[in-house]
């Protein structure tokens, strides 16, 4: 009987190869973007450094880009950014952590049905709305009577950015706490520990990598935040760590220059890129550290 040989040899059709190539291109777009960002920032920053001494830039504490005599000490802006970010962390970390503990350890349906929607709603609010809240209500109605601050202050910006990053801290910390094996908790309970003690002495120490990751990531987010701080914090760059004062963050300065009438090649415009470079390096470093912590807690169990 004639054996009908079934056709087994068949080269992979070129359509499959093209599809794989297209998909690879999509993924590789990311590399192009990163390279592009770095190149743009570096080139313009180097041009800036032709005019302004990099040492003066990196160590100076007076920033006066629009008013003579021009001074470009970036530390004034960095201090503004850090001031706001630190206040944000002081607010966001306890709020976020306690919410995470609530979700992970005291989880009942009632708790989840309240906490999760609240966190998700806050996470979905555009940052400009938070900025509006800061100067329309928070500053005039609450901070001014209480602390006597002006309309713009680092405190106002710090508070709203703190609210902003709370869902971020909460979700990553909850993730890390959930990853702690039940056996660890049960061992502690079996020895007669109270719930609070289990959380404090078993869960949190075990989840510390994840919690650190969330805090650092939130810090990065706070450092890079623009719209909320532009409205709330003001445009008065000064090297100060007084939260009641009006300062200027790196991001707010970038917005200020872009909105203004500065010409393309001017030193003010170039300073924008130098400041952006510092911003990029800071957030990039924070993200790398955070990712390292995430790897630690993902592989710990």
């Amino acid at each position: 009987m004639a054996a009908q040989q079934i056709q087994l040899t068949r080269r992979r059709p070129w359509s499959e190869r093209i599809i794989e190539l297209l998909l690879f291109a999509a993924a590789a777009l990311g590399i192009l973007t990163t390279i592009g960002i770095v190149v743009i920032l570096v080139v313009q920053t180097l041009q800036f450094f032709q005019i302004v001494n990099p040492i003066d830039f990196l160590t100076g504490t007076v920033w006066s880009a629009s008013i003579q005599p021009y001074k470009f000490g970036v530390l004034a802006l960095v201090s503004g950014t850090l001031l706001v970010a630190i206040i944000a962390m002081l607010i966001g970390t306890p709020l976020g952590l306690l919410s995470a503990i609530l979700l992970s350890e005291y989880s009942s349906n009632r708790v989840r049905n309240v906490v999760k929607p609240v966190l998700e709603t806050i996470a979905g609010i555009p940052t400009i709305v938070l900025g509006f809240f800061a100067i329309n209500f928070l500053s005039p109605e609450i901070l001014q009577p209480l602390f006597g601050v002006g309309l713009f202050s680092a405190l106002a910006g710090g508070i709203v950015v703190g609210i902003l990053v709370t869902p971020l801290i909460a979700s990553i910390s909850e993730d890390a706490m959930r990853a702690v094996p039940r056996g660890l908790r049960e061992g502690a309970y079996a020895m007669g520990a109270t719930k609070f003690e289990v959380v404090r002495k078993v869960v949190l120490p075990a989840a510390v990598s994840g919690v650190m990751a969330s805090i650092i990531l939130a810090m990065s987010r706070a450092v890079g935040e623009t719209m909320a701080v532009v409205l709330a914090v003001g445009t008065f760059p000064q090297f100060s760590f007084n939260p009641l004062e009006s300062v200027q963050t790196m991001t707010a300065f970038i917005v200020q220059i872009v909105q203004g009438e500065t010409s393309q090649g001017s030193v003010q415009f170039l300073s924008l890129f130098a400041v952006a470079m510092v911003l990029f390096v800071m957030t990039f470093a924070l993200n790398i550290v955070s990712a390292w912590f995430v790897r630690r807690y993902r592989t710990a169990y």
């Binding site: 919410s99 806050i122 609070f196 450092v223 935040e225 970038i254 990712a291």
Partner: protein, 299 residues
């Protein structure tokens, strides 16, 4: 309180102090509840603030009218159309590129250094501040490609902002599809692309589409990159994607909120309400789409 003693007359060796410890626990629980209460309070204050200040200014004339220098006669129609067009273009760009990259990384990519580099790169991009994307967009779309400060440049820039998030969410949705589904398709004689397109993608569709729609909601609220791109703040004609100035709702809010007069604060809040409504609609859409796409999924 119990004491454990080996022989009478010796000191108790344990002081369980149960009451005090339990009370600490209750205080701690109270602190957790206080945290939530503060968050809820902040959220309510925020929304109330916006509604109380903005609602009086929200009327049909505001929504359908053109902007004017006087807040009493101003409208957000060009900004509204701009936001909607922006969302659509961002979605159109993100859909193929985001899903394509995710499919490659989840289904095709071999386990080697290049793949790990691609993945790390995307994670890093997710953490870059949006204003830096604005600078990138300014240099590449507006200047280098010569498109100018048009709606499309803004949309392309915002697409880059949300792409890492979409890719990460899509990869997770793809990885959640059980391996049995892939094997079932392969066993029928499917090629890799047939398997992905016919079996894996439909199974991951709810998660992927939810991710894209929510990312679009995020893009509607973004302003920082657009400020850098050069979105105008006073546009009296409807935006066209490739020519002319453009504006979007968040830019209008930014413009008005900076002015101290109560009238401007009012219209700023009214515009915020419109933004929040749009975001709400998108979230609703995400729920509906998710329900529709997962009607067959039961694992």
């Amino acid at each position: 309180m119990t004491t454990a003693t080996a022989t009478p007359g010796t000191q108790p060796r344990f002081e369980p102090a149960l009451m005090r410890r339990k009370m600490n626990g209750t205080i701690f629980y109270g602190a957790c509840l206080l945290a939530i209460a503060i968050l809820i309070l902040a959220l309510i204050a925020l929304l109330l603030n916006v509604v109380v200040v903005g609602l009086p200014w929200l009327d049909p004339q505001f929504i359908t009218g053109m902007p004017s220098r006087r807040p009493t006669q101003t409208g957000v129609f060009p900004a509204l159309i701009g936001s909607i067009q922006l969302a659509l273009i961002v979605g159109a760009i993100t859909f193929p590129i985001g899903i394509g990259a995710a499919v490659y990384l989840a289904e095709y990519a071999p386990d080697n250094r290049i793949t790990r580099l691609l993945q790390t790169n995307i994670s890093n991009l997710a953490g870059v501040p949006s204003i830096i994307y604005g600078i990138f967009g300014l240099a590449v779309f507006v200047r280098l490609l010569g498109l100018g400060p048009v709606l499309f440049s803004g949309a392309a820039t915002l697409a880059l902002v949300i792409l890492p998030l979409v890719i990460i969410a899509s990869i997770e949705a793809l990885k959640a599809v059980p391996q049995a589904q892939r094997e079932g398709a392969y066993a029928l004689g499917a090629s890799q692309w047939q398997m992905v397109r016919g079996s894996v993608l439909p199974a991951a569709a709810p998660g992927i589409m939810t991710g894209i729609i929510l990312a679009m909601a995020r893009a509607i609220g973004e302003a920082a990159p657009l400020v850098v791109i050069g979105a105008a703040t006073f546009v009296t004609s409807l935006p066209q994607p490739l020519q002319g100035g453009f504006t979007v709702l968040p830019i209008q809010v930014f413009n008005w909120a900076q002015r101290p007069q109560a009238d401007f604060q009012g219209v700023a809040a009214a515009a915020i309400i419109v933004i929040l409504v749009l975001i709400f609609i998108l979230n609703l859409l995400a729920l509906i789409v998710r329900a529709r796409l997962s009607r067959h999924i039961q694992w």
